[in-house]
Symmetry: C2
Subunit: 414 residues, 2 copies
């Protein structure tokens, strides 16, 4: 009876079979259909995580997130450590409580934002010192501190501190970043193992001992250099971590370079661990990466573009501020059953943006998140049916041949 | 069988018994417990309408509005006629479709905003010309045009065009406004009767012939002058309109003046019609007005203050930006069961405002709308029990003795 009850709960398998794990259930070429088990429930892979930068996926409530199909979300350590601060998040019950989200959460380590957002970086073998973009104060982040902060936040998956050089960095810079990131991975692992099993607080939404297990992922660097990628992967695999991320491929290399990197790193990351491509979200990049064996994605694209009135559809992107939508009583996508498409027309959405009504960004964000969930469902179904390559060609032709936007690439960084 | 099915629908009584009506079911002193019947359903009174200025109650979806207890909402003709325009609203399916709201809607006539927002007003006996605050173009509004525009919008209750002088206006100005508003009421009624029964479009959310009946309300003016109020009421009552509003008492007179005006106008408006106090929303003003026989209210207070991090509670207002809430894991109101209080702490809400996250304004707006709905439910229950005076004294002491704000009055016009 007790066993039956335990199994009936959504977190029961994680408790009985281990707090974290990845299981691959089917393949289609190198594409993998699997499940990620976390203390806050299981998630089917390949999957996409909406980004909740500073403790909130901008403009949408957790109920709206779930309705839009989100199952696991991401929080940014960089933003949260500066405001409200990791200690404050812990005192408020941890990141799950702060985000009112009882599903799995992943936090990045702060590395990416430090190398892209912060001013006055000073890099050493031990860590990085930077100036807060909020109050200008000097902040130091070390591998151990990155783990400690993420422990206070309490996410299910935490990331090592890494150095993420820009896409146009020269080979020497990338090589140094690979070496430094490998050393930091080792230090992160030591801090993680030292804290493992300790319980800093109880996770309020699920009443489980959250923080008692967090999965630490390593991050492969190496830019577009196959040998550096290989060296990075080898150093990480030696650490036997619960999961591995491919980093440094969403910093401006473009679609071709992304495919080249993933082709070059083929086989470098272990088959029995989840593989996470950080910061990648353009549908064609997601599909290209799934085809090359990636399981997890995150990107600000659906939320940021949603706030800019740009909607994703299976027939290409739609710029809702365009005057031709002014009296269009049709929804963004006739085939979409998201809240926005069930209730609002293109004309109304355009009006909400022209009138600067907060509801416009919220509604198009909901639609875009639903599109990304639907894309991942379609991808999983195609892997299951063994038809991913053929299906994906059809999707990509429809999406990119009809694009309403002037320059799809530029939209990435709006 | 057909009859049973008709009665089962929420709009069946309105269709069978007449498209619009007010019924008083109980009284407690002058306070009235009643029901307002409209083509889009019935609403219990006294009731409060959230304001959906430009086609959206700022930051909240219709689902969130319903969950927060809203049953009837208000749209601003002034804003909608300028953007996206009444014809565009009609082409997009009418205001119910634009707001994705299948409950009753009331639109004001635009008069209030013209006299408070617009520049370069030119007033004549026939109407008013003003400069659009959006593109600077000259716009003319006449009584007939105000009715035509509201017909295109398609609300259930429409308001006459009136002149609303500022609170500090001298007696001559107020007397002229009373005279002009009475003449405009007559012209609005003529335009309304000429169009009655015609169907400009079908209401998409409810598939009923919306616009086939709209209830026209007259607006009493007269400032703080009892004789002018009496003259205004007499002119309106002669027109035998479906409902009457008390105008010009939310323009800075203060709580005492509001009570004096309502005491002075006691008995001037007919007992068998709904009475609507325009723009009033401070809880003590709502209670004072209900005690004096008012049935309907609208105000931007819950939404505007929500966007400014100010939460209404039964223990007074709470300024959520205050540093003392930073690590407070308790909800805004322990006794509140709104979405926000069930999922978020004061500390999290403060963080969302400090980080300028859109979700902060949305969540506190939801809480405030829920507070106003709960206040109106409590008022209706007290009228039903015959205990309004005593109950209200307790509520007001708790609300205003504990107020967290420096100056409650100033918050009205933030």
């Amino acid at each position: 009876m007790g066993l039956v009850l335990l199994w009936a709960g959504r977190r029961a398998p994680a408790m009985l079979l281990g707090m974290f794990g990845y299981q691959c259930n089917a393949t289609d070429g190198k594409a993998r259909l699997g499940r990620l088990r976390t203390p806050h429930g299981e998630v089917e892979t390949p999957m996409f995580m909406p980004v909740g930068t500073a403790g909130s996926v901008k403009g949408v409530t957790p109920d709206q997130l779930v309705a839009a199909g989100a199952r696991m979300i991401l929080g940014n350590t960089y933003h949260l450590m500066l405001r409200p601060g990791a200690q404050t998040v812990a005192r408020l019950g941890g990141l799950h409580r702060v985000m009112a989200w009882d599903g799995p959460i992943l936090t990045d380590s702060g590395g990416y934002q430090i190398f892209s957002l912060a001013h006055m970086r000073k890099l050493s073998a031990d860590g990085v010192t930077f100036q807060s973009h909020i109050d200008g104060s000097a902040v130091e982040l070390t591998p151990a501190k990155a783990v400690l902060i993420q422990r206070l936040l309490g996410a299910d998956v935490i990331m090592q501190l890494d150095e993420c050089p820009p896409g146009q960095a020269d080979r020497d810079t990338v090589a140094a970043a690979v070496e430094r990131s490998a050393r930091w991975a080792k230090l992160c692992r030591e801090a993680w193992l030292a804290k493992r099993g300790q319980e800093p607080f109880t996770c309020e939404p699920c009443h489980s001992a959250q923080g008692s297990y967090q999965a630490l992922f390593g991050i492969q660097q190496g830019g577009v250099h196959a040998d550096l990628r290989a060296a990075s992967a080898a150093a990480l695999v030696e650490l036997d971590l619960p999961g591995y991320a491919v980093g440094g491929v969403s910093v401006g290399e473009g679609h071709e370079a992304l495919r080249d990197v993933l082709d070059a790193t083929d086989g470098q990351l272990p088959h029995d661990r989840p593989r996470y491509l950080m910061g990648v979200g353009e549908p064609r990049d997601i599909i290209a990466a799934v085809v090359r064996g990636i399981d997890m994605f995150d990107c600000v694209l659906p939320t940021r573009n949603g706030r800019n009135a740009q909607a994703f559809t299976w027939q290409g992107r739609v710029r809702l501020r365009n005057a031709r939508h002014a009296e269009d009583a049709a929804p963004v996508d006739e085939t979409c059953d998201c809240y926005t498409c069930r209730h609002y027309s293109r004309g109304v959405l355009r009006h909400l943006f022209m009138a600067k009504e907060m509801l416009g960004p919220t509604l198009v964000t909901i639609h875009n998140l639903h599109f990304f969930s639907t894309l991942m469902i379609a991808i999983r179904q195609a892997i299951s049916a063994g038809t991913l390559q053929a299906d994906a060609e059809g999707w990509l032709a429809a999406i990119y041949d009809n694009d309403d936007t002037d320059d799809p690439e530029s939209a990435l960084d709006q």
